[in-house]
């Protein structure tokens, strides 16, 4: 019986991603470009924020991916700890730098937007602070990967760190809420609320978000493939050393 887990077999993974990756990459590029061009050039300026609303099309998708990349790493780490699928932990490793950069972009675009709107680049607001904390968690996770030589030990320890880190990241998120009241507006894109942003901004933002998600998937697949190839090279080198 074909099971879902078969897709995680490294060989199968390499075969299907080799076919899927170009399609996803092109789709990501096209959708992102459409979303951003639509957002940048074909939407009116906001009556209060003026042209600074444009940065919203980058800020919101990157911020959402920054959070969800960690969620994906958490799930991938769990799969590795429970079912020992190597591809899974490599995907978690591959997602971390992408998430790190997305966090950085979200922080940077937020700072650029914050200067004209709030009159400050940085404020110790709960959302901003918890993003900075998320950034620190990504840094720690990546540093731990770098520090351990044995790949399986590294995979195990980073997975454990990811689990514990997730709990503490959530705790920090709510602790920070408690610590300071914020400037940041509530969620601008949510499905269950009546008060969303106006449709003119909402549709291009959705397209841009979809494009960024595709981009994230493409980058993670690409990086996972690189990691698998690295493992293979490593294995070949070891074999040669044993023979020679």
């Amino acid at each position: 019986m074909a099971s879902l887990w078969e897709w995680a077999n490294p060989h199968k993974f390499m075969t299907w991603t080799a076919k899927a990756l170009p399609i996803i990459s092109i789709a990501a590029a096209v959708v992102t470009v459409i979303g951003l061009i639509w957002g940048f050039f074909f939407t009116p300026d906001d009556y209060r924020q003026g042209a600074t609303i444009k940065i919203f099309y980058i800020h919101v998708p990157t911020a959402m991916i920054a959070i969800n990349a960690w969620l994906m790493m958490l799930i991938a780490s769990l799969i590795w700890l429970i079912r020992r699928h190597h591809v899974s932990v490599l995907a978690a490793k591959a997602a971390a730098p992408v998430g790190l950069i997305m966090t950085l972009i979200a922080l940077a675009t937020g700072a650029i937007w914050g200067k004209p709107m709030w009159g400050t680049y940085w404020e110790w607001d709960p959302r901003l602070t918890s993003f900075l904390i998320l950034f620190l968690f990504y840094l720690g996770y990546l540093a731990l990967w770098e520090a351990i030589e044995d790949p399986d030990t590294a995979a195990d320890l980073t997975s454990v760190l990811c689990l514990v880190g997730s709990v503490f990241a959530l705790l920090s998120r709510y602790a920070v809420n408690f610590w300071n009241q914020g400037l940041h507006q509530g969620a601008s894109l949510s499905l269950d609320k009546q008060e969303n942003v106006a449709d003119v901004f909402w549709y291009p933002a959705l397209v841009a978000l979809f494009g960024f998600v595709l981009m994230f998937v493409a980058l993670v697949l690409l990086r996972t493939r690189t990691e698998i190839r690295k493992r293979r090279v490593h294995a070949i080198e070891l074999r040669e050393r044993v023979q020679g």
């Binding site: 030990t153 320890l157 880190g165």
Partner: protein, 218 residues
Amino acid sequence: MIRLLQRDLILALRAGGGFGLGLGFFLILVTLVPFGIGPNSERLAAIAPGILWLGALLACLLSLDRIFALDYEDGSLDLLATAPVPLEGVVAMKALAHWITTGLPLVIAAPILGVLLHLETAAYLWLIVTLLIGTPALSFIGAFGAAITVGLKRGGLLMSLLVLPLYIPTLIFGAEVVRRGALGFEVATPLMMQAAITAGAIALLPFAAAAAIRIALR
């Protein structure tokens, strides 16, 4: 388990350096703060809760590598891992020993150092209470950090990078209680939150730390 606790305490006491070092660091940090900030007593009083908590946290952090590193080097950690006691219990006892040798002295010393920083009179009680409740969390979280970096050659700096973000919730609630206490506000909510974090850390992190040690010893 009790023997293990005794052994760790005796080692910490007799091996020298370990016991007073954290306290000394705490004292120096608090002494340095007025040099950086200026001797204005109102300003010092305003930042005293945060500085005292930060100092306690950093003093705790610096002594974390003692928890497992020495035992890992001389091989006794392997013996403990194969001994007929649960490794989770070993980790918990070692974290407890770390708390008794580092956290408890800090709790006792903090009010004295509070005098140096002109801490508000109303805040002393809350400073002692939060440190008493919060420092066990620092030891248990730290034990997890120490466990995850135990096999690494240069684990010290990496451990700070891993452990400090985990300290954020404890620090937030701890400093918040003292700050509110100094102003005479109600402190029950942050105090209970902090107690919850400590209880959770004591209950769960020994399992994560033991898992990390098993991986490192494999």
